[in-house]
């Protein structure tokens, strides 16, 4: 039987009072682009550090290629990391930074220079080998960090919010580049991020972390379309969530907790007749934010909560404004029933 590249078995890690990782079990398959998604403090970076070997689990096991790695120091793991702030060594040139891995493994000076140059070519920085990290732009540093981590030909590459420090445009370019690099090299990528767009667009599978636990592990499409918990529905799809109590007050719904994404919600004047086979709720508009392709309507429901509806520009009801009484409605089939756990 082929073992998973990485496997967590009932792993916990407690710092003082905080359960950073709380009885987590999952497996990452070889060659996969795996994202760990969650807000800060949700335990995703703690899990990454357990794989890299910077920290050890308090209980449970972390397996690499089927072998328990507790007590194996980072320098004896076939795993490399791209750090959030890159952690380039400022007293070394770019080339020396990239050649550091082969150097500490006793590769001869000539060979490691050749390999380092090849890696710099791969990340399109061939001409900058003699510079110091301080002389590079953020995007260039990011590529150096990538080259440095890949030169050891690791089985797994860990990326800790690698694009967090870059501006939007560069970030989108790098997303595409990282994804194609991963395909080309066939290495397992474990990608930690708090940006759900990044996780959805790049990963083969996504684990959503919350309070030290994995809320849901699924392919991006399923995660978006079928969120398992209220937390996932809110965090991944910024969906409207109705708990069982609220759901019971909607006309045309049988009372289970559910999520409905904003783009599936229609806004119409309160007096217009509701069509059949929809669930609906009345409320008043409290804000309309124009976003170019459409507008986000914030509506205070009579049932209590503020829900939002995404209305494409073409379908914007011209006669309605802030303060107007409206009815929100959505097809029954679009509502996703939620498990009772989570919040």
């Amino acid at each position: 039987m082929v073992s998973s590249a990485i496997e967590f078995k009932n792993v916990s890690r407690v710092y003082g009072e905080v359960r950073a990782v709380d009885d987590v079990s999952f497996a990452i398959e070889s060659g996969e682009f795996f994202a760990m998604l969650g807000p800060s403090g949700s335990g995703k970076t703690s899990c990454l550090r357990l794989v890299a070997g910077f920290d050890s689990p308090g209980s449970g096991q972390v397996l690499l290629d089927g072998a328990d790695v507790s007590g194996v120091p980072p320098y004896e793991r076939n795993v490399n990391t791209v750090f959030q702030d890159y952690a380039l060594f400022p007293h070394m040139t770019v080339l020396e930074n990239v050649a550091y891995g082969p150097r500490v493994r006793g590769v001869s000076a000539g060979e490691r220079a050749t390999r380092a140059r090849a890696m710099l070519e791969l990340v399109q920085l061939g001409a900058l080998g003699e510079r110091r990290p301080a002389q590079l732009s953020g995007g260039q540093r990011q590529r150096v960090a990538l080259a440095r981590a890949l030169i050891n030909r690791p089985k797994v590459l860990l990326l800790d919010e690698p694009l967090g420090a870059l501006d939007l445009k560069l970030r989108e370019e790098m997303q595409i580049e990282l994804k194609s690099l991963q395909k080309k090299l066939g290495i397992t990528f474990v990608y930690v991020t708090h940006d759900q767009g990044e996780a959805l667009s790049m990963a083969d599978r996504v684990a959503v972390f919350n309070k030290g636990r994995v809320e849901q592990l699924a392919a991006p499409r399923e995660l978006y379309l079928r969120p398992a918990t209220a937390f996932v529905a809110r965090f991944v799809g910024s969906a409207n969530v109705a708990d069982a109590k609220l759901a019971a007050r909607f006309a045309g719904w049988d009372g289970e907790a559910f999520a409905i994404r904003a783009e599936n919600v229609t806004v119409q004047g309160e007096n217009l007749p509701a069509s059949t086979d929809v669930v609906s709720a009345a409320g008043s508009v409290i804000a309309v934010q124009f976003h170019g392709a459409g507008s986000r309507w914030q509506v205070q429901l009579d049932a209590g909560e503020v829900w939002s509806a995404w209305v494409p520009d073409a379908r914007s009801p011209a006669d309605l404004a802030v303060g107007a009484r409206v009815r929100l409605s959505w097809p029954r089939s679009a509502a996703v029933p939620l498990a009772s756990s989570g919040n």
């Binding site: 980072p74 990391t81 400022p90 007293h91 891995g101 301080a134």
Partner: protein, 269 residues
């Protein structure tokens, strides 16, 4: 009046420059006095200038003996301080363990408490355990506060290093020793040297603790202290003062150069 937040008021500017002048005048005066032809009074201005007193001072064997002793003590105390201070800094820079805070306090106590406490404590211990004062006891006393200087310099640099450099190095396959050699050492080396320089300068000039531990040995500061109450050789004292300034100035300037904040470790992240 236009609003210029980058310009100080004349009061601040005058106070700053006057204060700076106040700090330097005595040093310049002492240098001037080393060249005066007046050998009897502290009169100002000096009636004339001469190099004669340097000749006289260089011919005095007691000065040479004290100078050699001070250099020897300085080197030995600095060596001990470099080893022990660096070990302590590496132990306390990052690790978390119970009693860490107490140790941090312990390692700065010799500087935080007045020197006379260290001095009288060492003397009391020597009397109690019947240790005769000697060069060794002087070195022990000096090393105790020199350790603090090295420790402070090295730990300040270590704390400025991002924690993940060590992680990055180990991640790339370097074991603890390789990480120390390739990543930590190049970063800490200048702080280490600066600490050593400052420790040496401090030892070379130390009197408060030394008086208690020296017995009959006369380091240069002790020689100098005795001269203060015997004004007979005042011109020679002036010359020694200039020599002391010169010998301590070199390591201080070097230490400043080593720890200038504008070098490149600052910019790269």
């Amino acid at each position: 009046m236009p609003y210029r937040p980058d310009e100080p008021s004349w009061l601040v500017r005058a106070g700053a420059f006057a204060g700076l002048a106040f700090m330097h005048v005595p040093v310049f005066i002492i240098i001037l006095y080393a060249f005066t032809t007046d050998d009897r009074t502290y009169g100002f201005p000096p009636p004339g200038l001469t190099l004669h007193w340097f000749e006289v001072a260089f011919a005095r064997s007691d000065i040479w003996q004290s100078l050699t002793l001070s250099l020897l003590v300085g080197f030995c105390a600095t060596l001990i301080a470099l080893i022990l201070g660096t070990l302590a800094a590496f132990a306390l820079a990052r690790a978390k363990f119970p009693a860490k805070d107490s140790l941090t306090v312990l390692f700065v106590m010799p500087i935080a408490l007045p020197g006379i406490i260290t001095g009288i404590a060492l003397l009391a211990a020597m009397k109690t355990w019947r240790v005769e004062p000697s060069v060794l006891t002087i070195i022990c006393g000096h090393a105790t506060f020199c350790i603090v200087i090295v420790y402070n310099n090295v730990i300040a640099r270590l704390r400025r290093l991002p924690a993940n450099w060590v992680e990055a190095s180990m991640d790339l396959g370097a074991d603890g020793l390789q990480t120390f050699r390739y990543v930590l050492l190049p970063q800490v080396a200048t702080a280490f040297l600066a600490g050593g320089m400052l420790a040496f300068a401090l030892s070379f000039d130390e009197i408060i603790v030394t008086i208690f531990t020296a017995g009959k040995e006369r380091t240069l500061p002790i020689w100098f202290f005795n001269e203060l109450f015997r004004p007979r050789d005042r011109p020679v004292t002036n010359v020694v003062a200039v020599i002391v300034i010169a010998v301590t100035l070199v390591p201080i300037v070097l230490a400043y150069y080593f720890t200038r904040p504008d070098d490149e470790h600052e910019t790269a992240r």
